[in-house]
């Protein structure tokens, strides 16, 4: 047999290089001592220390965190309600329309979502004075609307897998519908809720385009800050910040995937 590299490993390697070399170089250079981003001098963590003293970055991080947490929570509530409506209430007028509308934000260009929300907020303000100006509130509302779609999809797929006999059994034993939801439905879909929340939080943390449209003075998110700073030239400090964000996002996504996978495996061995 001729010894030569197979086609698949070569292509896979090239693919991984193409995808991850930029990120890896960013992470590597975040530990560079030199102020020049492209010239390696020696290992140092001084840019991470500098981050902690940068008031502006810490502020932006805190704002991003707040927006992420609040909009993920709101998206969780609304997304779950939407998923329940689609999965548990049988046929109703406009169900097909709702199904389509819920997944529309998944494919809608962010520029359009951002622009339309901006126009909406401006119109609302001139009509009844709320939300007054643009800032934290408008970003939270905007993020809630597009994260909701992701939560709805995740929760809906979990509900579809769920054995509705259990809900009927609880009702048969005397539990009213609300009680059935708390006792049976909620524990069963809990993994989907956790992973849906994590996904929404990560998406909110990542978003630059929509936030830029609907943000106002005093509400600069982390991606917005990084973007504006980079326009003045890339600094190793930004590399360090980006590395931390990558870490958070990776942890969030992996955790979400792991929770879903392990709960699925568990439920399939049970029944």
């Amino acid at each position: 047999m001729k010894s030569r590299l197979g086609f698949v490993p070569v292509v896979a390697t090239l693919g991984f290089i193409f995808l991850y070399v930029p990120i890896i170089s960013l992470i590597v250079f975040s530990f560079n001592e030199s102020k020049l981003v492209t010239v390696w001098s020696r290992f140092s963590t001084k840019w991470y220390a500098e981050l902690l003293n940068d008031e502006q970055i810490l502020d932006a991080a805190w704002i991003s965190f707040k927006i992420g947490a609040i909009s993920a929570t709101a998206a969780l509530v609304f997304g779950t309600i939407a998923a329940l409506a689609l999965q548990r209430f049988g046929r109703f007028r406009g169900k097909t329309l709702l199904t389509g509308m819920i997944s529309a934000p998944l494919v809608m260009p962010e520029v359009i979502t951002g622009l339309s929300l901006l126009l909406l907020f401006v119109a609302m303000e001139s009509l009844f004075g709320w939300p007054a100006g643009r800032g934290l509130t408008t970003i939270i509302i905007a993020h809630t609307t597009f994260c909701m779609a992701f939560v709805a999809v995740v929760v809906q797929s979990r509900l579809a897998d769920m054995d509705s006999d259990q809900e009927e059994a609880a009702m048969d034993l005397g539990a009213k519908p609300a009680r059935v939801f708390w006792d049976i439905t909620l524990p069963t879909i809990a993994p989907a809720l956790v992973s849906g929340w994590l996904l929404a939080f990560t998406l909110s943390l990542d978003d630059l385009v929509i936030a830029s449209f609907v943000s106002g003075p005093g509400a600069t998110t982390l991606p917005m800050l990084i973007f504006s700073k980079v326009r003045l030239g890339v600094s190793p400090e930004i590399n360090a910040l980006a590395t931390i964000m990558i870490l958070i996002v990776v942890v969030g996504v992996v955790l979400a995937a792991w929770i879903m996978a392990s709960s699925k495996a568990k439920s399939s061995t049970t029944y």
């Binding site: 006999d165 259990q166 009927e168 009702m171 034993l173 005397g174 539990a175 568990k266």
Partner: protein, 380 residues
């Protein structure tokens, strides 16, 4: 009989026109669009019965059960349970509990929590729940399993827990959807008898849905055979088997040989059916209300036929045929015999002796015979 009052199983309340039914179903229908899942069914079920709804898939038996426990609302008709109209009472307010085919145990709760769930919903104090749960687990021989999660139990154990949970609230009526469907054959037979004993001890009315005719025959006080959303026959297991009211029922329960024929003689103490299909004039030892020349069918169970090499000494119901196939099944042997008329019939004979000298075998000519009360005459 003085035992009638004590044991409702010996008396047959359905034969007593003055007996008050426990469940009264009147004109019930459930339509899904153009599909009539249940179509205008009337049914009375009496207290203490173990009633089986038997039918193939799509016969409407499960829909009927779901209407009894309230998961489905009838399109038309009424359901009365214990004198109260239940047609539109939600499931959580009915004095009825159900054991699901999938058992539907709550996977995130342990066995004790599962069994006690209904009691907790009724607001029973904790200490009382605990002792009742103990009692129930003992009843289904699952003592000491209270702390286990459902996924740590075997199929048979889950079935017991599901049964205990369904009985926890002392329902007046217990509905069981294919209760033994998920168990293997041996376990199923054991569990059948346990289920019957439990039902007898508790005196709860059971309504069991099943597609397994053997299960229905073993368990039931009465069987309702369902087909296309209608009740084909409602009788005791013996009557359903020995006196089916149609070819469908005869064929659905057990094996049967059907011969088409025309009435040639119709007397008070016997009738005759000329059947070219069987190749003889069938003699029936009792009168049947029919008219001469009418088309009727003669249903004959395989075990009620005798086969022999020598012509048996009887005046009627003897034909000749050729053995096509023999299947040895242990307790009995099944023969496929081609009658001289061309019709193939199925005959079963018990294997009375271990060693059989010169048994009837392939390609042998035999005499096929049966008694004058062996079969049943069916107009439809």
């Amino acid at each position: 009989m003085t035992t009638d009052a004590i044991s409702p199983f010996i008396s047959e309340p359905w034969t007593d026109p003055s007996a008050k039914p426990f469940i009264r179903i009147r004109g019930i229908s459930r339509h899904f669009g153009a599909v009539k899942a249940v179509d205008n069914v009337d049914l009375d079920i009496y207290k203490g019965e173990l009633f089986c709804l038997l039918g193939g898939s799509g016969s409407g038996k499960t829909t009927l059960l779901r209407m009894l426990c309230g998961f489905d609302n009838p399109t038309a008709g009424t359901i009365e349970i214990d004198g109260q109209d239940m047609s539109h009472v939600p499931p959580y307010k009915r004095p009825v509990n159900m054991m699901f085919q999938s058992y539907a145990l709550f996977p995130h709760m342990n066995v004790a929590k599962n069994v006690g769930y209904g009691l907790a919903r009724d607001g029973m104090p904790k200490a009382q729940i605990n002792s009742r749960v103990e009692e129930l687990l003992a009843m289904v021989q699952m003592e000491g399993f209270g702390a286990r999660k459902p996924n740590q139990l075997s199929g048979g154990q889950r079935q017991r827990v599901a049964l205990a949970r369904a009985l926890a609230k002392k329902p007046k009526l217990l509905l069981l959807d294919e209760p033994l469907g998920a168990l293997d054959k041996k376990l199923r037979e054991e569990t059948q008898f346990e289920l019957m004993k439990l039902q007898e001890d508790l005196g709860v009315t059971f309504v069991v849905v099943t597609h397994d005719q053997e299960e229905a025959m073993t368990l039931a006080t009465r069987i309702a055979v369902m087909v296309d959303g209608k009740l084909a026959q409602v009788s005791t297991p013996r009557d359903v088997y020995e006196y089916p009211n149609s070819r469908f029922v005869a064929d659905f329960i057990g094996g049967v040989n059907l011969f088409e024929g025309r009435v040639t003689a119709d007397e008070e103490n016997h009738m005759k059916l000329q059947s070219p299909e069987a190749g003889l004039e069938i003699h029936v030892g009792h009168g049947v209300s029919c008219s001469p020349g009418q088309r009727m069918w003669y249903a004959l169970r395989p075990e009620k036929i005798r086969i022999a090499r020598d012509r048996p000494d009887q005046p009627h119901n003897v034909v000749e045929g050729m053995v096509e196939e023999v299947a040895y099944m242990g307790s009995l042997s099944v023969y496929r015999i081609n009658l001289d008329s061309g019709k193939q019939i199925k005959v079963t004979q018990p294997n009375l002796d271990r060693a059989q000298d010169n048994p009837i075998s392939w390609d042998q000519r035999v005499y096929v015979s049966w008694g004058s009360s062996a079969g049943v005459v069916l107009p439809t």
